[in-house]
């Protein structure tokens, strides 16, 4: 990984900032010098055709992928770089662990731990990673289960739950870490249609009742329109359009956005 010469100073007012981020998989350029910022507490939806790089943005933030160029900042600190003199070098695992504490992620496929019951799925990381006392972690988990409407499932195993219930547990699990940033990666895409509503209701709750910064990759356009402070339309690894939902959904500025929205809404 080459060092980045002459980096811009971090922006202390942004929760997230991408600066010239490049990501390639082989010859395929997924993100092409991407720049954007997200303010603290914002709910930003990322929409666009598949392959446009939306999920990659979340995976980079979660440190599941590495950037090929440019920098990412979270809370004014470089995510995967450290300053070495006047240059930036690759951060070590210790730095990554410290940065990950600020970020939580919910996956399309839930990824609950099937060998643990619901309660332990939620308490495991607060205890093992944050060092919370077991009873404190448990109390926090039970509160969260109550919030997602699954108080009666604390002792159940993931395999005994529906997809929608599993996803709500996964949301509780991510929130138990009290992240500053929550990444939602197509969290309703793997669900049967009748289970989507409960998950979206929980997310609406979180969006309105907490000040967590949320980045949400979604194909649920109505949901995006209702809860987002901002919507970013991606195409070919670039931000095609970045606007408040009222503007982007009713009078999109690009023909490409218009076509995409028509295609998605027709499908629904």
């Amino acid at each position: 990984m080459p060092t980045v010469p002459d980096p811009l100073p971090p922006d202390p007012h942004a929760m997230i900032r991408f600066s010239g981020v490049v990501k390639r998989f082989g010859d395929n350029v997924v993100l092409d010098h991407l720049d954007f910022t997200v303010a603290p507490g914002e709910f930003v939806s990322l929409i666009g055709p598949s392959g446009s790089g939306k999920t990659t943005i979340l995976r980079l933030l979660m440190t599941l992928e590495k950037v090929d160029g440019g920098t990412i900042e979270v809370c004014g600190d470089y995510l995967s770089h450290v300053r070495k003199g006047d240059r930036l070098g690759r951060a070590d695992e210790k730095h990554l662990r410290a940065m990950r504490r600020r970020i939580g992620m919910v996956f399309q496929q839930f990824n609950l731990f099937p060998n643990m019951n619901v309660l332990r799925n939620i308490t495991e990381a607060p205890v093992r990673s944050l060092g919370l006392a077991a009873d404190e972690a448990e109390a926090r988990a039970l509160d969260l289960l109550d919030m997602v409407g699954l108080s009666d499932k604390a002792q159940a195993h993931p395999a005994q739950l529906s997809g929608g219930q599993q996803q709500r547990v996964a949301i509780a699990r991510a929130l138990a870490m009290r992240p500053d940033v929550l990444l939602l990666d197509e969290v309703t895409s793997a669900l049967d249609p009748e289970l989507v509503a409960d998950v979206l209701r929980v997310l609406r709750d979180i969006a309105t009742s907490t000040d967590i910064t949320i980045l949400c990759v979604t194909h649920e356009m109505q949901f995006a329109q209702d809860v987002s402070d901002r919507v970013m339309m991606f195409d070919h690894g670039r931000v095609l359009e970045d606007a408040v939902p009222e503007k982007l959904f009713s009078e999109p500025g690009h023909e490409r956005t218009r076509r995409f929205l028509r295609a998605v809404i027709d499908r629904e």
Binding site: L64, F107, Q109, F113, S129
Partner: protein
Amino acid sequence: MNWSWQAAVESLPLLLKGLLVTVELTLLGSVLAYLLGLALAVLRRARIPVLSQAIWLFVEFVRSTPLLIQVFVLFWLLPSLTGFKMSAFVSGVVALGLHYASYTAEVYRAGIDAVPKGQWEAAVALNLPRAHVWRAVILPQAIPRVLPALGNYTISMFKETPLLLSIGVLDVLYQAKAVGAETFRVVEPYTMAGVLFLLVSLPASILVRRLERRRAHSA
């Protein structure tokens, strides 16, 4: 053929004594193979330079040479090179354990690879310490899947223990040979030894197959 039931019955006490040794060898060898194989599989996955290649070399070496030669190396060559001498029994356990560890390591690897990538990613997202991810997330999912395969290796180990006759381990076959030398009747003790092997490995095979079927149902 003049089969003597009396000779067959009279050979049994010594054979059973030998069978006990054979079972001990198999159980201790299995424990070693299970633990060492797991360590090899996990260490190899960690992709630590040099160590990874060293493990690969060890596994390939052990798999490409006959167990008998490895037994000789441990029992004859090692003491003359290093002055470190193990009894025949201990040499046997170590040889079986090392040999089968190279196979169980591959079994574990397959089990570990079968754990979905999403489990690792969720663990990263939750910032769980690496060692804890292995202990609490990956291995509890990987190991139950591979138990039948491990069981099969224990059964084949059991059937290979007579090899250790060559360094004087007092197993079933050694005792059969001893009975033969004493009574000049070889058919009965060897036949009975074979029957004893069958009586142990057949139920064990059925048990493993049942375990396999239960796994298939629960998965």
